[in-house]
């Protein structure tokens, strides 16, 4: 029966080749893991940063984490609300656009907002909000913290001078770990 098997094998190989020269599109691969890591970074940033007391008025003691634009986190933020930032419970708010940002302490800017970063400095300059994003050039556009990838590992650039102007202080060990400090 060897002969028939070989015929079958050749047919299989030919049919695989037949579809071979016929082009398609590739799916963009964003892994869940990358944003789980970024979510964990956000929690750590919040713990290393000290906000001025007036951003926690008596009626709003919770820590406000906002995500603006298309939410890339999926389920990565799940369970975050059970964590505490210096004794404060975390509240997560999703926001549509950079134009109308509610009271946030930490604001993650999604890649979907790449072309609207111009609105960033105008809206944030006078407010004690730490902005974080993985958009390339985010710090140059006035953002506070930008995720960068070095040898497949996540690191971050921190805009220390801008934070100081907003009255926000970042812990020295966080500055030590940063890929660069502006």
């Amino acid at each position: 029966m060897r002969g028939t098997h070989n015929k079958l094998a050749w047919l299989l190989m030919l049919s695989l080749f037949a579809v071979f020269f016929n082009l398609g599109m590739v799916r963009a691969e964003t892994t869940m893991q990358e944003y789980q890591l970024k979510a964990a970074f956000l929690v750590n940033f919040a713990r290393f940063i000290t906000w001025p007391e007036q951003v926690f008025p008596p009626d709003r003691q919770d820590f406000q984490l906002c995500v603006v634009g298309a939410d890339p986190f999926g389920t990565a933020l799940r369970g975050l609300e059970t964590k505490k930032i210096n004794g404060r419970a975390i509240r997560i708010t999703r926001v549509d656009s950079l134009k109308h940002i509610p009271q946030c302490h930490l604001l993650f800017v999604s890649k979907s907002e790449k072309d609207r970063l111009g609105q960033l400095s105008a809206n944030m300059e006078k407010r004690a909000v730490v902005t974080v994003s993985d958009i390339t050039g985010f710090v140059n556009a006035g953002g506070s913290i930008e995720f960068v990838t070095e040898k497949d590992r996540l690191s971050f650039i921190i805009n220390y001078s801008a934070l100081k102007q907003q009255g926000i202080r970042a812990n020295a060990s966080m500055l030590d770990l940063a890929a660069s400090v502006r």
């Binding site: 590739v26 893991q33 929690v43 750590n44 590992r153």
Partner: protein, 684 residues
């Protein structure tokens, strides 16, 4: 089909019971973790230092550096391995173009790069996380002793062609680097269990967690019980069942932002049945078939330390210990190896980036001899140093890499292994490279000072005395040398389509052969470097993501090798024919991976291997022909939910059994049987 029920011997039972206990123990340790919901973000409680050590892994991503390498490199990723359904490392290697992988029996393989295959295939250097697993006894790799947990493999880098400049002696025709995942990537627990006809029982467990504030660790255990195959001549049971268990650990950590360290180790035990034929003895019946078994056990410990210095310089210190014992019915070997390596990378001006290194290895060996094999106990030292400079001739366009390794070994003294490689990138998606390199294979202990019995027979007229023909080691035996000329082209045609072509011409000298003893009264033979060889070939691989849900991987290899006497007045022998015809001229492979529904994947793999010839191990003028064949593997993966994966796999589906190779030693021609197995993998 007749199913024979063979009572399990106590040794096997012991291995399986130990395995079961270890798996249970690991599961116990893991149970508290179950309280966490499967969807929870496992990184949430890590500190910044830990998070910054995590690598971002993206599906089917190949390391970027491949396009910038002036060598024939192919990377087998964990995703390739997972979707192929292979259960051993050599099976995974069959995905790479330019390699010839044939299963000799359940536990034995011939794995070669660009020719010179065999059970004792000796021109390919194999390393696991930088630890050499090439055995100095007869030069080669005991594949049955390399049972790293298959899920822990991050990638296998297959480099065809000489790698002597960086990797040292024996990286003649290629280097296989098996690289396991960092512990940052194996957090949480995994349990796998499988059953099948050939893959009778398989089980594995792994648990990874953070250690303190800046380190990670994992523990694993893996075990397999594999069934026997069928003898090609008689259709009888080939008595090659094989059981193994291996367990180990790995830890990775950082000290400050500048120092990274890794500590890892494994312990294994492995036992298999085998038929040794021919088995010569000094009394009647001088030639017999020996139905026996082998046991192999060992352990290793590797530590490495990497420090980032100012200006991007990098200093790496690596040390390992490897101890192993292998006992077969015709000999026993025990090895203890200590290896130390220091490497330094630095930039010299704008254009030069230098890599230099030095190494020391001490090998302590102990052999139990028999009528069949004799190797004296010996200690060997190896010193080496290498220097390589990558020079940017034109920024982002043209690079020249030159370097050499100097090695001093106790067999042949000094060996130099220089190379020069040129890489030209006329555009970002085109790379053209060419290289010339020298590499050597240093003598094995057997070739240097051992002896093997080739025949034994009673002498007429009285038939009371026995004449023995032995093949003796030769202390004058030299290294085999290769000068290789290579070139290649890589083209990233589209985001979803890439092509890689490599061509080579190999010029070998002082290739091993056997010569008659100078003593006219003796029939004995002597190892000698009396052959030369020429090899050439073309290797092509294409990756194509045909649809978002469908990827295809194609590989094709064409090669020819001819072996001749260095002295042209001598007549060609069967040996020459053996090496020439022992390599398949054509090999082709197509793999297809389809995500056909949300949680379903269908993968298949078709391989074609051209005909080869082996030789009869008793009547050495007799040729055993292995006709061309196809192997077809297919599997179906179902993920009923995110952390649970069920796989139903079939290997060699086209034939009930297939002869892939006729080994030059020990194993009579064995047809590898069709295998069907199922497995469940659970991450939690």
């Amino acid at each position: 089909m007749v199913i024979k029920r063979i009572p399990m011997d106590p040794g096997k039972r012991k291995i399986l019971i130990t395995a079961a206990i270890q798996v249970l123990f690991l599961m116990q340790a893991a149970i508290p973790v179950l309280a966490i919901s499967e969807e929870d973000n496992k990184y949430i409680d890590m500190n910044l230092e830990q998070l910054m050590q995590m690598t971002i892994t993206s599906v089917s991503k190949k390391p970027q550096t491949i396009a910038d390498t002036a060598a024939a490199v192919f990377v087998i990723t964990q995703e390739d391995i997972r979707r192929s359904g292979v259960t051993t490392i050599p099976e995974a290697l069959a995905m790479a173009p330019g390699l010839q992988v044939s299963r000799i029996s359940s536990s034995k393989w011939s794995v070669a790069s660009r020719g010179f295959g065999g059970y004792t295939s000796n021109k390919l250097l194999v390393m696991i996380d930088g630890r050499s697993v090439y055995t100095p006894a007869y030069s080669g790799t005991f594949w049955d002793m390399q049972n790293t947990l298959i899920e822990d493999i991050d990638r296998i880098e297959v480099i065809r062609g000489p790698g002597g400049t960086v990797w040292g002696a024996n990286a003649v025709n290629g280097v296989v680097n098996i690289i396991t995942k960092k512990t940052q990537d194996t957090l949480g627990s995994m349990v796998r269990a499988g059953v099948g006809d050939q893959e009778k029982v398989s089980a594995a467990a792994r648990h990874g967690s953070t250690i303190g504030t800046s380190a990670f660790g994992r523990l694993y255990v893996t075990t397999n019980d594999r069934g026997s195959n069928m003898l090609a001549d008689s259709g009888q049971d080939a008595q090659d069942g094989w059981q193994n268990i291996q367990s180990g650990f790995r830890m990775d950590g950082m000290v400050g932002a500048k120092n990274e360290w890794t500590l890892q180790g494994d312990l294994y035990k492995n036992k298999g049945d085998q038929i040794v034929y021919p088995y010569w003895s000094d009394s009647f019946p001088h030639l017999k078939t020996d139905y026996s078994d082998f046991t192999a056990s060992g352990g290793n410990l590797t530590g490495s330390w990497q420090r980032k210095l100012t200006g991007g310089d990098l200093l790496t210190l690596k040390a390992y210990y490897d101890g192993n014992n292998r006992e077969e019915s015709y000999y026993e070997q025990t090895f203890a190896t200590v290896d130390l390596d220091l490497q330094y990378e630095t930039a010299l001006g704008e254009r030069n980036s230098l890599t230099m290194g030095t190494g020391f290895r001490h090998i302590d060996s102990d052999f139990e001899d028999s009528f069949q094999v004799y190797i004296p106990d010996q200690n060997k030292d190896l010193y080496s140093a290498f220097l390589q400079d990558e020079i940017k001739l034109i920024a982002d366009t043209l690079w020249l890499t030159v370097g050499t390794k100097y090695e001093h070994n106790d067999f042949t003294g000094s060996e130099w292994q220089p190379s020069a490689r040129l890489l030209w990138k006329p555009a970002a998606n085109h790379s053209i490279w060419t290289a010339v390199a020298r590499a050597v294979r240093t003598p094995s202990m057997l070739e240097d000072s051992g002896a093997i019995t080739m025949a034994s027979f009673p002498v007429p007229p009285l038939y009371t005395t026995t004449q023995t023909i032995k093949l003796w080691g030769n202390s004058e035996y030299n290294s085999e040398t290769l000068i290789a000329y290579e070139a290649g082209y890589r083209w990233q045609a589209k985001r979803n389509l890439s092509l890689d072509v490599a061509v080579y011409y190999n010029d070998y000298d002082d290739i091993y052969t056997t010569l008659s003893s100078t003593d006219p009264t003796s029939f004995d033979l002597l190892f000698a470097n009396a052959k030369e060889a020429e090899g050439h070939g073309v290797e092509i691989s294409v990756n194509w993501q045909a649809r978002p849900w469908w990827s295809l991987m194609f590989a094709y290899t064409w090669q020819e090798l001819s072996v001749n006497w260095q002295d042209p007045s001598l007549v060609a022998t069967l040996d020459d024919q053996f090496y020439t015809k022992n390599n398949p001229k054509h090999q082709a492979s197509v793999r297809s991976a389809i995500d056909f529904a949300e949680n379903w994947q269908f993968n298949c793999w078709l391989r074609y291997v051209d005909e080869i010839q082996g030789r009869d191990n008793v009547n050495m003028t007799e040729v055993i022909s292995v006709p061309s064949y196809f192997l077809f593997d297919a599997n179906l993966i179902w993920k009923p939910w995110n952390d649970l994966e069920i796989m139903l796999a079939g290997q060699n589906l086209l034939n009930s059994s297939q002869l892939q190779y006729a080994a030059e030693l020990i194993t009579p021609p064995t047809e590898i049987e069709r295998s069907i197995y199922g497995k469940v993998t659970w991450h939690f």
